[in-house]
Symmetry: C2
Subunit: 199 residues, 2 copies
Amino acid sequence: MSVKLRFEPRRYLFDEGDAPRYVFSIASGTVCLSKALSDGRRQITGFLFAGDFIGLAHGETCAYTAEALTPVEVCRFPRDRFERYMTEHPHVERRLLQIASTELAAAQDQMLLLGRKTATERVASFLIRLSDRAVAHGRSGNPVCLPMTRAEIGDYLGLTLETVSRTMTQLRKRGAIDLDNTSVVRLTSEETLRRLAGV
Amino acid sequence: MSVKLRFEPRRYLFDEGDAPRYVFSIASGTVCLSKALSDGRRQITGFLFAGDFIGLAHGETCAYTAEALTPVEVCRFPRDRFERYMTEHPHVERRLLQIASTELAAAQDQMLLLGRKTATERVASFLIRLSDRAVAHGRSGNPVCLPMTRAEIGDYLGLTLETVSRTMTQLRKRGAIDLDNTSVVRLTSEETLRRLAGV
DNA sequence: CGCGGCATTGAGGTGCATCAAAGACAGTGG
DNA sequence: CCACTGTCTTTGATGCACCTCAATGCCGCG
């Protein structure tokens, strides 16, 4: 019923507008979900990691694009079969409702971030979320790995890549973080960072 | 099992951080859901109307505030009983999953709007959405009623009330809309409006 | 070594916020 | 019926946070 697949960086699992034929479960790697405007502006709506589920929020067509940022391994299920299976196993349906509920809460948090937070608050919030998420997955929350580029962080936070970069150096100068290299951030003062994240 | 209640404008159905004791179904009126930062900045995450359901996305505490904008009539259900009922009636659970899925898609749309759209695109998108929603509810999509203030629209679109006001007059000057009064908008050129909404 | 992709930094511009004032409108009470 | 009040909206003047454009630096890889 399921297939194990591998996607290289920059490959699409599916594209906005495609018929939603499959759902996925991520075994390893990082995936981003995004929506785009016709002129190329895009908004990344979430980063997904091992254990995460892809396939909610589709109607007649996929509502967003799913792209591998790193090498990614997934289990792929035909959508119709998955739905039949779900109908026959209410606890799966219940679990999916929990997932949807959690994602909805995260989406609302992100709306607050995008609509009302400053660049500093956005970047600080982002780093804290990644750290908390790593802890929730049983990994270390410090240092934090950033398996995505500055441009992708910008597309997630509603900023340009330059502003993300400038804000990170500003956080470094303020003593909140330290960069081991461009994709590994040590949170030197989580307290400062949480304060800067603004609630 | 349920109670019918009435809330006057500016009353809260519940507040961010409350224990989530109830779920609601709106019988009439307009409700907004919002999240706030400690300094008072807030983001409205959605406007709800007759027929809509309130109660998703709660964990240990309510993740957002629900406030009546107009006189509102609701059916209120104790959360625990509702969940028990849901477990015993899988089709209710399935329906709730559909609702969550739809809301998630709407949330992703809103992230694109908040992260990447200009003020003009935001206001135009907002008016079109309200119009489409009215049609989906079997009411006329033109003219569109705005049962919320400019400040509330601003808190929804990530703008200030002044920018919302300026943008509306600009849309009027461009011939896309006309204001019968401050809370009734006629879409004089839906085509122009959709073009300005950007995708 | 040299190339390509990504990150950082700088200089300058702009879209929206902020601050301020005046206009529109509904409700209230004399 | 109208003055009065409070709330909401519109419009104007100014400032700033972030964007844009451009140059340079960094690093892995063939």
